[in-house]
Symmetry: C2
Subunit: 118 residues, 2 copies
Amino acid sequence: MKLSENEASKLIEKLWFRHTDSTIIAVLQDYKTKEVLMVGHMNREAVFKTLTTGYVHFWSLSRKKLWLKGETSGHFQLVEDFKIDCDGDAMVFLVKSVGPVCHTGNRSCFYRNFSDLI
Amino acid sequence: MKLSENEASKLIEKLWFRHTDSTIIAVLQDYKTKEVLMVGHMNREAVFKTLTTGYVHFWSLSRKKLWLKGETSGHFQLVEDFKIDCDGDAMVFLVKSVGPVCHTGNRSCFYRNFSDLI
């Protein structure tokens, strides 16, 4: 799904960019299986690009730059729907994944449980 | 589920407390419906308490203190399972909710969509 630039701007005004580098937290969830795929950060520009293009964009905390998810891997994440939390500092994006979301090749970044770490 | 203090300590050593106030991001997800309920932050102590008691604890970014989720409302969130992401700065907790997770009384904090905000 995509919003118009006007709609996206209105929505962004309601968000609370309280996290590192003036961001919100964005949770990607598979729109069919409901699996949580990844957590990232979005600044105003990343939210705007995500909402108006339908492709997930993040603000990279490490590289300090806007980042179209999949720009190098081709594994774009397409927005099917989204939700905003009660205080506006986090969003859930229900996505259709073109390819694995994780740089390790796993479908989800959350592929480890406690037996993998202890 | 609960871990022993020894297991919890070992797991915590593998995490990357890179976010505000030396925290990781914690996503709560309903263990049955897979609905995303809430996003919060956990410092080392909050992760330790969560893992060893089986009750979700957060670090409150606003109040700058440890916070047992449900301590005032009685709506505790019981850990059924959890996952750790690829770089160790976020976890997903699959929980059984004693009551609504949101202070608004909604089952999930993510109860708003774009038509509620535009």
